[in-house]
């Protein structure tokens, strides 16, 4: 796979094929995240430590992609000079979730849990490096780096998926994308957290 395709696979795939691959990815990630206690609580958000029913874990990736799909479709319909297809927008957004699938495994590492337990109740100013288990600290850093890389990768795919499927003028793509991402980080988290988890 060349670099261009790694950053923008949507010149080659969109529509129903992309949607199918994305849906499979979301189901796999949701399923794994139930067992690893990881959750995708918002667009480009991955956290560990949630114990919730399986359907909540499965719902979260779908809610995030659905939010982005609706948001980008609305603005695509208003601003695009092309005749856009909804299936392309939802398909590319579902596909853009795929880099995050491996991140659902991060909760299986006990290092995050052990490190969190160590840190709970300690005054942040009193934390010294020698208080923390080195192996766990290294493992958390590695997991963090991998997760950040996957998140950035997914973010690039979200942007390129939107750009390719909606064909908006450049000056419109960026603000719609940025506001969409920010709202997508907040809204699904709030709706599911507030109405379904409590």
């Amino acid at each position: 796979m060349n670099t261009n395709l790694m950053l923008n696979p949507f010149t080659k795939i969109a529509g129903f094929k992309a949607l199918t691959a994305g849906v499979i990815g979301m189901l796999v990630a949701g399923y794994i995240s139930f067992y690893s206690n990881t959750h995708f609580d918002g667009v480009l958000n991955i956290h560990s430590g949630l114990i919730a029913p399986m359907w909540i874990h499965l719902l979260w990736p779908f809610a995030n992609v659905a939010f982005l799909g609706i948001w980008f479709t609305l603005f695509g319909m208003v601003f695009s000079q092309s005749k856009i297809r909804i299936i392309d927008i939802f398909g590319t957004q579902a596909f853009a979730f795929l880099p995050l699938v491996p991140a659902s495994l991060m909760g299986f590492s006990k290092s995050i849990e052990r490190l969190t337990e160590k840190l709970i109740g300690i005054d942040p100013k009193a934390i010294r490096m020698d208080m923390l288990p080195l192996n766990d600290l290294l493992m958390v850093m590695v997991i963090g780096l991998i997760t950040i890389t996957l998140t950035v990768w997914s973010g690039i795919w979200i942007y390129n998926g939107f750009k390719e499927s909606a064909n908006l003028p450049h000056k419109r793509v960026i603000p719609v994308f940025i506001i969409g991402i920010i709202m997508g980080m907040i809204l699904p988290k709030y709706v599911i957290g507030h109405f379904l988890l409590n």
Binding site: F10, T11, K12, G15, S82, R85, D88, N167
Partner: protein
């Protein structure tokens, strides 16, 4: 060899002055306008040819060119916009 469409000196649009027959070497002189499609790069001309050959079906085009549907549609929209600009210039 690439067909030059702009004057290398002043960047104005070039016109065709002479046409010749390779068979009998007859030459026709005049001041002919370049066809609109000649103004496009070669890959764009090929895209237009493929589009016609596929009966204008973007889905078929996407299959033939191994590209996604929106990529092909965006390319076509770009060509349409360029054509409109050329039309407005005349």
């Amino acid at each position: 060899m690439k067909l030059p469409i702009l004057c290398p000196s002043c960047q104005s649009k070039l016109k065709v002055k002479t046409l010749s027959c390779e068979q009998c070497l007859t030459k026709v002189d005049g001041n002919f306008k370049m066809p609109v499609l000649a103004g496009f790069p070669e890959d764009t001309q090929q895209f237009i040819i493929e589009f016609v050959k596929n009966s204008g079906s973007l889905k078929e085009m996407a299959k033939t060119m191994s590209l996604s549907y929106p990529t092909v549609r965006n390319r076509l929209d770009e060509i349409i916009n360029t054509l409109k600009t050329i039309e407005n210039e005349h």
